[in-house]
């Protein structure tokens, strides 16, 4: 039995890169369940917040603590990037790689990879080079590669950016299935429609700061800040 990595507690965190503040100060707590949408305009710090929580970037100030030591947390997280990296391998090998590096045998990893590829709708492309997949298929591959490790938390950085309606719907269907398992999802998007369809709670960010954290219902029906109201009203928020 793997110990739960939750809750995540972020206190007074600031992230800077080459002296420029990317996010902060941020205070928030993340529980073990639900699908949180990180919403905000471009450049508001959504991606940086996800990368911070995933451990890809470090805070210059404040603290970020999970319930278990960092080494254990890393094995229980997965991240789907906005532009997923496609390795120079077949679809099956690309997905299996995520398991092979954890010490699982190649044969077992390949079997699991085929299962997960089928689950996300890539059964027809198992032996194809990952590089020839369409944008939607690449995102599905990235999802399968993330899910095959059965993470407790899944970070998704605008997974449907640049996808058409059909591909977006397919990705959202997969996310709906993931949500029904015990995997916690934190997803960044600036697509209001998608946020309305998927969110259980919302983190609204502007200029590197969390302006609102509330349930999806409360956020969409009764936003508290002027920036959120403007954003929901379709105005340009900077």
């Amino acid at each position: 039995m793997v110990a739960s990595i939750f809750p995540l507690q972020i206190k007074g965190v600031e992230v800077k890169q080459r002296g420029v503040r990317l996010i902060g100060p941020v205070d928030l707590e993340l529980g073990a369940e639900g699908l949180t949408i990180v919403l905000g305009p471009n450049g508001s710090g959504k991606t940086s917040l996800l990368r911070l929580m995933h451990g890809l970037i470090r805070p210059v100030r404040g603290s970020l603590k999970w319930a278990v030591p960092e080494a254990e947390v890393r094995t229980q997280q997965a991240y789907v990037f906005q532009t997923p990296t496609m390795m120079r391998r077949s679809v099956t090998e690309c997905i299996a790689y995520a398991l092979i590096v954890t010490g699982v045998s190649r044969a077992q990893a390949r079997n699991a990879a085929r299962e997960y590829a089928t689950r996300v709708g890539l059964a027809h492309a198992l032996d194809r080079p990952a590089g020839v997949l369409s944008g939607g298929e690449k995102q599905k591959l990235a999802l399968a590669r993330a899910l095959i490790r059965k993470p407790q938390i899944l970070f998704l950085d605008e997974p449907c950016a640049n996808l058409d309606g059909r591909a977006t719907r397919e990705i959202e269907t997969i996310l709906g299935e993931v949500r029904s398992t015990s995997t916690r999802i934190v997803m960044a998007t600036h697509d209001l429609g998608q946020a309305r369809r998927l969110a259980q709670d919302v983190l609204f960010m502007v200029n590197g700061c969390v302006h609102e954290k509330s349930s999806a219902h409360d956020f969409f029906s009764n936003p508290q800040t002027a920036e959120a109201k403007a954003f929901l009203g379709g105005q340009i928020v900077e």
């Binding site: 094995t75 991240y79 990037f81 997923p84 390795m87 120079r88 790689y97 590096v101 990952a130 590089g131």
Partner: protein, 234 residues
């Protein structure tokens, strides 16, 4: 022009008749060069990948030195190895001077920085592409290096072929440490130098054409076996 055509004819005649001397020299050239390139690749490729993945104090200086070593003058390398392997040198007891092993050592020293440097440049770009994914998947440094080496295999093949090209055409160092001894350490390049010195231009040119053809054929064979340029997506 006359020498060129006679050289071509000489090369064709010796190849068609499988001239024993030519075969022996060619096989020795291949043996020395392929062995040297395999050893240099075994050192240079992981070194290039390691430099691409790791950040440490003085890394830039190490890379600058590595790049500078690509231009090592072969004659100087030969001279240093000669001194090291000569009877009075620290490794004289091994009795390696004027043997193919000494020639291999010289070629490894010349070729390793070239392979490592080209590998580093190729893998540095690949690392930029794979960085987030490999960190996100919580891979160890060893796994990252192994992954980059596999994913960058096409570019690394080019690095190895560049090393082969430099090694097979090398003459200065192997002349010094090999001695160009007939039936022992004579290879195509040293034979060409010898025949040129003797004024036997047609034979020298013939050997030269064989050397060029050998290099091209080996490159084509490796490209064909590795399916390079058939797909950019693997």
């Amino acid at each position: 022009m006359n020498d060129l055509s006679r050289g071509l004819a000489e090369a064709a005649y010796r190849v068609v008749t499988l001239d024993p001397e030519l075969v022996e020299i060619t096989l020795r050239s291949l043996q020395v060069t392929v062995t040297a390139v395999v050893i240099a690749s075994a050192i240079g490729l992981p070194l290039g990948a390691w430099l691409a993945v790791n950040r440490f104090a003085g890394r830039r200086h190490v890379i600058a030195v590595l790049n500078a070593l690509m231009g090592l003058p072969p004659v100087v390398v030969g001279l240093i190895i000669y001194v090291l392997l000569s009877r009075s040198g620290p490794f004289g007891v091994l009795g390696l001077l004027f043997t193919p092993t000494a020639m291999i050592i010289a070629q490894v020293v010349i070729v390793t920085p070239l392979i490592a440097s080209i590998a580093h440049q190729a893998l540095r770009d690949l690392w930029a592409e794979y960085h987030d994914l490999l960190i996100s998947l919580n891979t160890t440094k060893r796994q990252r290096v192994a992954t980059l080496l596999w994913e960058g295999r096409r570019a690394l093949l080019t690095a190895c072929l560049a090393g082969f090209g430099r090694a097979i055409g090398e003459v200065g160092a192997i002349m010094i440490v090999g001695g160009n001894i007939d039936n022992a350490t004579r290879v195509l390049t040293t034979a060409i130098a010898l025949e040129t010195g003797k004024g036997n231009f047609s034979l020298a040119l013939g050997l030269g054409f064989v050397l060029v053809a050998l290099s091209i054929l080996l490159n084509l064979a490796i490209h064909s076996l590795s399916r390079t340029e058939r797909s950019t997506l693997w």
